[in-house]
């Protein structure tokens, strides 16, 4: 390969035919190389370091974000767990309330029924008492009228009047 390259040179050699060109080329190369070492390498090194630092910072930031995200995830997971527990508690409370409400409604319904029965019983009893009282009053009035008539009829007899007075006198003496 080298032989091919050399053979392609203007003088057919590997080294250029003009030595000055080689010299100044080497000097220029050396200068450029030194300049590269003097300015380029530190700059590259600095750039590399800066890039490294930036990457490290970005990695650290990413790690921090990851940690934050993980914390957030943990928090959310915790909250989710709390929410589940809260939801379970709400459901349990709701069931308890529903059960209690059902029991209350049942008890109230039974009380209403009992109260209604008692009111009906009292009303029926009052109507029965009133009917009995009315009947009793009617019978008593008839009895009073009859007694009055019988007594007055008997008192028309003079001997009855005299006997009543004699009874009164006897009882006083008695």
């Amino acid at each position: 390969m080298i032989g091919i390259l050399a053979a392609e040179g203007p003088n057919g050699n590997f080294i250029p035919s003009d030595i000055n060109e080689l010299y100044w080329g080497s000097v220029a190369f050396g200068i450029i190389f030194l300049m590269f070492l003097w300015k380029g390498v530190p700059a590259i090194s600095k750039a590399m370091k800066g890039r490294t630092v930036r990457i490290e910072e970005e990695l650290a930031a990413a790690a921090a974000q990851k940690a934050s995200a993980e914390n957030e995830l943990a928090t959310l997971s915790g909250q989710l767990g709390d929410a589940d527990a809260e939801a379970a508690k709400i459901i349990a409370d709701a069931r308890e309330q529903a059960t209690k409400l059902e029991a209350d409604l049942l008890a109230r319904s039974e009380a209403d029924v009992a109260d209604s029965k008692e009111r009906s019983r009292i009303e029926i009893q009052a109507q029965r008492d009133q009917a009995l009282a009315d009947l009793r009053a009617a019978v008593a009035e008839q009895a009073r009228v009859a007694a009055d008539a019988v007594v007055r009829q008997n008192l028309d007899d003079e001997s009855t009047q005299s006997a009543l007075i004699d009874d009164y006198i006897s009882q006083l003496a008695g």
């Binding site: 009053a137 009874d167 003496a173």
Partner: protein, 174 residues
Amino acid sequence: MSDTIDGYAEALLAVVRAEGASGADDEILRFAQALEGNDELRNTLSDPYVPAEKRQQIVEDLLQGKASHVARAAVSLVVGAGRAGELPAIARALVAKGAAASGKEVAEVRSAVALSDDQKTRLAASLKSATGKDVEIKVTLDPSVLGGVITTIGDTVIDGSVRSRLAQVKSHLG
């Protein structure tokens, strides 16, 4: 007993004794009892706007032929003096004083029919037996008694009337 009633009773008793009208006190008492039971008559004879002469004329008309002149004069005197309202008390005081003079108390007897002399005697004996007091019977006919007798001695009432028994029966009936 007020001094006024006592004074009138004393005065009338003196008149009755002076005139020797032993039954006049009974007649005065019967009129007084009739006055008690008749609101219209009592109001008329007590009305100060009715002239005294008019009131006395009413008394004369009512007692004419039914009472002695001593009784008519006594009642007329009381009514004319504007004391018709006090006449029952005066009459009772009169008979009480008359009875007390002979060591007796007055027993006012209300009956639907007249008592025979025998019944009066036995009643007086029975009342003495029951109360321990000698009594003078003053009988008043009162149809509202219906039958039997109601006796009043002072503040004591002994009710053996059919009216009260009938009232008791009516009360029991209802």
